[in-house]
């Protein structure tokens, strides 16, 4: 199997991310996905509210955004395979996201071993100086699986 170029990897990661049914349902839009970094955002939607008394988006929707963004960062890392799965993800909520504003997650895959990728992510609303949430996660980096899906996809 020939390995993909950097541009191809980025395109694959972006296309892959936006086509995932759950990401589509949440209206996620992928921006930069390259070199172990990803930026993905999600518009405010009343269906994603967690508490109608405040109109604040549910933490679970923020989790989905963080998980997707972290996974995309892993897939775009030069040492990581094109397919990954979350091992664990911890999310800390700093403050409620302001109702009506879009949420943007920025993830960095800062280390990859032969089997594990390590990621950090931050989510903000339109006030980018005060984070809404931060996340740390570990993802699978199974190179054997990569070859399997490449074969299976043909």
């Amino acid at each position: 199997m020939t390995s993909l170029t950097r541009e191809e990897k980025t395109a694959v990661a972006r296309q892959f991310t936006e086509a995932l049914p759950h990401c589509k349902a949440l209206g996620m839009q992928a921006y930069e996905i390259a070199d172990g970094k990803a930026v993905i955002s999600m518009d405010y939607d009343s269906r994603f509210i967690g508490d109608p008394q405040t109109g604040v988006i549910h933490g679970g929707a923020v989790s989905a955004l963080m998980d997707t963004c972290a996974g995309a960062a892993v897939m775009s890392h030069e040492k990581a395979p094109n397919i990954t799965a979350t091992i664990d993800l911890r999310i800390d909520y700093m403050r409620p996201a302001t109702p009506g504003q879009r949420i943007t997650a920025r993830a960095t895959c800062y280390h990859v071993t032969r089997s594990v990728a390590f990621v950090r992510a931050v989510a903000t609303d339109e006030d980018e100086s005060r984070p809404v949430a931060t996340a740390t996660g570990t993802f699978t980096a199974d190179h054997g699986l990569d070859a399997l899906t490449a074969e299976g996809g043909k």
Binding site: H58, G59, S63, D67, I83, A85, D88
Partner: protein
Amino acid sequence: MKQPPEPVQVVKERRDGALAALTESIPYAAFLGINFDRRGDELTAILPFSQMLIGNPYLPALHGGCTAAFLEVSAIVELGWTYLWDEIESGRIDASVLSPTTLPPLPKTIDITVDYLRAGLPRDGYARARIIRSGRRYASVRVEAWQDNRDRPYAQATGHFLMPKRDS
């Protein structure tokens, strides 16, 4: 003299009504299709499979994000329900007038850690939350989710929650 026991229908109506008010107060839970099964005070959260929950179309497998949300909703509803149970059973809150707008405020998530134990399959998921510690201000909750086999969980989570300020 001893009071006669309440008719079972009255008891069920009160409890199911309070639970419905609580779960219907979370739009995102409805968006994902989460509902709850009640046996006495024990709740089981159910996430019926739907195509929009898929995160890996090749396997196929559920998106980790919907699993995280499922566990978080289960934990918050368990905390809200435990508080509500005492209030409606003691009569401090009249369950018949409870609605999503008159409900006591919900706890807020401080942090949640989700472990993905195996791929979520394209079928229904179930989850049960257990309150490990609930103080006046903070609570710690553990949640486990499974699909076909109760002994083979596909995800678990531990979360900390900020409890709403109560009047008393």
